[in-house]
Symmetry: C2
Subunit: 154 residues, 2 copies
């Protein structure tokens, strides 16, 4: 009847959501198992700041796929833990709050990476690096084209 429509559970949409959930659970279970003191989202923010020194909050929000409010909250937590510093600066002549990773933040990041690395190597026995790489590339290509269709109001 609807030859262009599949049932939802047979769509790419569904497969992407399910994969996202599986991967998130994998990540959280790993963090618990390794007794890592940061939340997964805090780690993601910290890592992203570490390779985007002097980024402002809004740009960070876009990168870590959170809204501005929650990004601010994650940063409060990281700042309270002394892993990140925030300072006022300008961007396009506007006042913004920029941030940078602290010495302790960097140490923490390295310590977590060290703990995690062997497990990442492990997963390559489950799915080959080439397979992951190919999937990453084509998924990104498709995502970027779909992204043009929406307005990402962050």
């Amino acid at each position: 009847m609807f030859k262009n429509l599949r049932h939802y559970t047979d769509t790419l949409n569904y497969e992407v959501e399910k994969t996202a959930r599986v991967m998130r659970i994998l990540g959280m279970q790993l963090f618990e198992k390794l007794n890592i003191e940061l939340l997964l989202d805090e780690y993601v923010a910290l890592d992203t700041i570490s390779c985007n020194e002097g980024i402002c909050q809004r740009d960070l929000a876009k990168l870590i796929i959170k809204d501005r409010a929650n990004t601010g909250r994650i940063l409060n937590s990281l700042e309270n833990k002394g892993l990140v510093t925030r300072f006022v600066d300008t961007k396009n002549n506007r006042l913004v709050r920029k941030m940078a990773i602290t010495e302790n933040g960097y140490k923490k990041l390295i310590s977590i990476n060290k703990k995690v690395e062997s497990y990442i190597v492990e997963t390559k026995r489950i799915v080959s690096e080439e397979e992951i790489e190919a999937l990453y590339t084509s998924l990104k290509k498709v995502r970027e084209r779909f992204e043009e269709l929406i307005d990402f109001k962050i």
Copy 2:
């Protein structure tokens, strides 16, 4: 330093999460634009019930990637709207609540599908059917292997 580690924003994990978010926003924007009276998740449940007549709640939960509690709540809503009926039955000698789509539910599903179809056709101009198909297949394969590593306590 960590040759097996990328920054999070360069990982498959990140790409999957971002794609999931983009697709979810696309879906919700479509539902709003077309003035569809159901929530996206309610539609997903209704569609899934329609091709799994007599499914029990827990199995539905697994399919629509929600926990049992929220699946129950979605079903309450669908039942209140007269789109789904629930009845007690047995499965492996245990009492379970099974469900089926009603006449009105089926009409609603067809009406939504009719509204949505032309937009689905539209997206095939953005990304070809073959590309979607290939991505779907390899994503599913990878997801299934990762899924074996977690315990999906639903």
